[in-house]
């Protein structure tokens, strides 16, 4: 790489550090203080993943325009704008901005509220009964989207929400209330998003996610309003909107299963999700007889069919093909004694089957080849299952290590004393976990 940058004397030492160290040549390692004050892991969603999340949310917001509650509103909104501005582009633009602003305020308030109560909701979300309830609600909403029952706001609310007020205030108010009018359709999606934001527990994230959602929801309307002339080109509202509803229904069913995954046996969750993806593909792509007045629709349906199959295949396939995990051992005093004799550091993982971050640790971190290798070579790995309460030995251990919840990963040095600075109480990606493993090894008596 340095060659492309124009450097002439570029070498690579393929044997690298291990060979160098073996020959007793001068080496160094970072001073302990530096890496012990290594920054605590920041929130789980940052940087590129945040960008991708926001892009996804934005696309979701745009897609919500196609739901039957919002789509019919588009012509109304646009003609409303056109009427207000009296043909002036500038005023039309201003109205559009007010509209977007109003929409953003409603949604963002929701998002921030979810984030503020995040601690509470996060704790709740670890409870199996709450998980079941959330999944149940999602399924009920999904049933509504499938057309099994009709979700309606009281008539008076709908009317008040669409009543016109004069001027910019009116536009702002329309934006504010679009969220309410559209709630039956976008509610399920927004509810899912709300629970997710709450589980992340960051106010800033809540704000960003819901602001982006509003932008996605409002932008198409905004542009249509600006170019009112092109309105005739939109596909007519019709049967195919019901198909879109059913598509969102399937998304909700998938979401429901995702929520109860922590309390299902591992294989079930994956297989169930795979089944749902393929069932959705078959239903929407093959069985459904909906037609639409535009040509791309049959292709869209076939595309959804193929996409369902692909998702199912990837889900089940990557689960079946994953590599071996860390070889854990059950807790015993003898094992700790053995570790002390061999001068090996110990990692104790307190977990429960229903805890989502524990699952994540197991699926990603404790399956990373480097982690598995290092764990087998230099560590004694102990796992303690706290799913069932009431084991006296576990109670003693919880007391001893001051474990307040799951997951808790405790690092013991070669003398068997805990290195408190390294303790983990949340998911940590493999590279950061490896860093902690190295630190545990180097921790001096």
């Amino acid at each position: 790489m340095a060659v492309q940058l124009g450097y002439k004397n570029v070498y690579r030492d393929p044997l690298g550090y291990p060979a160098w160290q073996e020959q007793g040549l001068p080496v160094a390692s970072s001073p302990r203080e530096v890496w012990e004050t290594a920054p605590a892991p920041p929130g789980p969603v940052l940087g590129w993943s945040l960008l991708w999340t926001l892009l996804g949310v934005f696309a979701g917001g745009m897609a919500l325009n196609l739901t039957p509650c919002v789509y019919p509103l588009i012509p109304i909104t646009v003609s409303y704008f056109a009427g207000l501005s009296g043909g002036s582009r500038g005023r039309l633009l201003a109205h559009g901005l007010f509209y977007l602003g109003g929409l953003a305020v409603t949604n963002t308030a929701l998002g921030v509220a979810a984030a503020l109560t995040g601690g509470l909701m996060g704790a709740l979300l670890q409870n199996p009964f709450v998980l079941l309830a959330v999944a149940g609600i999602l399924l009920v909403f999904a049933a509504s989207l499938f057309g099994l029952w009709e979700l309606r706001l009281p008539h008076r609310v709908t009317q008040a929400a669409t009543r016109s007020y004069a001027g910019f205030f009116g536009t702002l108010f329309m934006g504010l209330t679009l969220g309410l009018v559209a709630a039956p359709c976008i509610g399920p999606f927004v509810l899912g998003l709300l629970t997710w934001v709450a589980s992340q527990g960051s106010v800033w994230l809540g704000f960003a996610v819901f602001f982006t959602l509003s932008l996605g929801l409002g932008l198409p309307l905004f542009f249509l309003a600006l170019f009112s002339g092109s309105l005739e080109k939109l596909p007519r509202s019709g049967e195919w909107l019901i198909w879109v509803r059913q598509l969102m229904g399937w998304v909700l069913v998938g979401l429901a299963v995702h929520f109860i995954r922590p309390i299902l046996p591992e294989a079930w969750g994956v297989i169930l999700l795979g089944l749902i993806a393929s069932a959705a593909g078959v239903h929407l792509g093959l069985l459904d007889r909906t037609t639409a007045g535009f040509r791309a629709f049959p292709w869209l349906k076939s595309g959804v069919f193929a996409a369902g199959l692909l998702v199912a295949l990837l889900l089940v396939g990557s689960w079946a093909l994953r590599g071996p995990g860390v070889a854990w051992q059950p807790y015993s005093e003898a094992l700790l004694e053995e570790a002390r004799k061999q001068q090996k550091p110990v990692i104790i993982d307190f977990y429960a089957t229903w805890c989502a971050p524990c699952r994540e640790l197991d699926d990603l971190t404790f399956r990373h080849p480097e982690v598995v290798k290092k764990a087998a070579q230099d560590f004694v790995m102990i796992k303690i299952d706290l799913t069932q309460k009431g084991d006296p030995q576990h109670a003693r251990l919880l007391q001893h290590y001051q474990v307040k919840g799951v997951p808790t990963v405790v690092f013991l040095d070669a003398q068997g004393r805990e290195i408190t600075g390294l303790r983990l109480v949340d998911f940590l990606p493999p590279d950061r976990f490896l860093l902690r493993m190295v630190q545990a090894q180097k921790s001096e008596p």
């Binding site: 790489m1 340095a2 940058l5 393929p14 001068p26 160094a28 390692s29 193929a306 093909l321």
Partner: protein, 120 residues
Amino acid sequence: MNFKRNLLLALTALLLGGAILSYQHRPLPSPVDATWADAQREAERGGYRLITTQELAARYQQEPHSVLLVDTRQDWEFMSGYIQGALHFPIEPTWWGRWRAEKPLLALLGPDKNRPVVFY
């Protein structure tokens, strides 16, 4: 016509899925297994030269600052020990990681294009 298209798309999906899965689980040549000849071939393609531990050590002991040592391994590897005097510049071994590292690397290596640089 409709049936044909669906069949075709389903097959495409299966093939694509299979391709993605086999790519994700492809056997990676671990640096330990790679022979000196492998490294030599790679070096010729990349336009750089190889240096053995002995050669490097000889240069290093003569004048430690005559070569710029760059440690490109990940954080946790660097933390567990590195050649004294080496700079740490982790590069993820993907085209994406390399692309992102380009500008900072230029700043790290400095303006002297003739200065010997050893990566490991």
